[in-house]
Assembly symmetry: C2
Homo-oligomer: 143 residues x 2
DNA sequence: TTCTTAACTTGAATCGTTCCAGAAAAGCGG
DNA sequence: CCGCTTTTCTGGAACGATTCAAGTTAAGAA
């Protein structure tokens, strides 16, 4: 579990000024995987008191641009953020409740990076989303 | 190239009433692959005259629910629709201009359907998006 | 044709997100 | 430690895609 000092270190490494909202937002993303912006705003507020939503939006954008966090936008959902970056993992999402879980690459490190026909595109990332139903939603349907 | 009769046939097959907006919207999706809702509304209006945006929204939802068209929502983009359904193909999207092209499955029919660790999820679809730069945007950068 | 149901119109509302101008704070050189 | 410069944060408003609600119209069955 990273400490405040670790978060400050991460920020400095990407030339971002160390501010309370940034440290708190970074910690919130680490503590709440796949959380949406609203949840993160709440987390930051629990830590620091009143903070404007726009500040959190700005911070998340800065963190995303710097590569410290990853923004994911599943269809039919609001933007979500996660702290795992650069390891080429994917996601499995429940159609019913929207729950998200991490899935490591099925085949080696960059499995789907090789499309059959690229139409001349220079591909730099393959994003994979597995759609299905999570365990608890499967139970509910059976009842 | 399907005709109006073909579209009517498709609608009847899924127990949807045949209406002018529906036929026009279905034709629009076939004629404009990966078009967003706004473009489809325009296409329908060129065909039928004044049609309310909500009608097109409703029609597209009905067509999507019926499985006649597929709705895709790339991150950072509005909803788009395509007529290719049920063939498990994927997409390559340009980060710069948002252009979308179809990509057939790299490995057989259901390549990525086998995640390494499913967390108990019942997976029914694997959605793959290849992110990169399209040929024309690559040219622009070089200049 | 007549009836029933589904579909369309009109109008407004919602919600996540972004933009703007001004105030505040952090970092840095002195 | 002090003041300056730059960046960030605040507060408010705006935006745009999508959805909701109520009433009217049209499609398909009897």
């Amino acid at each position: 579990m990273p400490t405040t000092v670790d978060y400050e270190q991460l920020l400095r490494e990407v030339d971002l000024r160390v501010t309370q909202p940034r440290v708190a937002a970074l910690a919130a993303v680490y503590d709440n995987p796949h959380a949406d912006t609203g949840s993160l705003i709440e987390s930051v507020r629990e830590e620091l008191g009143e903070v404007s939503p726009q500040a959190v939006y700005d911070v998340l954008r800065a963190l995303t641009d710097a590569g410290l966090v990853r923004r994911i936008e599943p269809a039919g959902s609001v933007a979500r953020y996660e702290s795992r970056v650069g390891d080429n993992h994917h996601h499995v999402i429940c159609r019913a409740c929207g729950a998200i879980a991490d899935v490591d690459c099925a085949v080696g490190d960059t499995p789907c990076l090789t499309a059959s026909e690229t139409h001349g595109f220079a591909i730099d990332e393959a994003e994979v989303i597995y759609w299905g139903r999570c365990p608890s939603c499967r139970k509910e349907t059976r009842v």
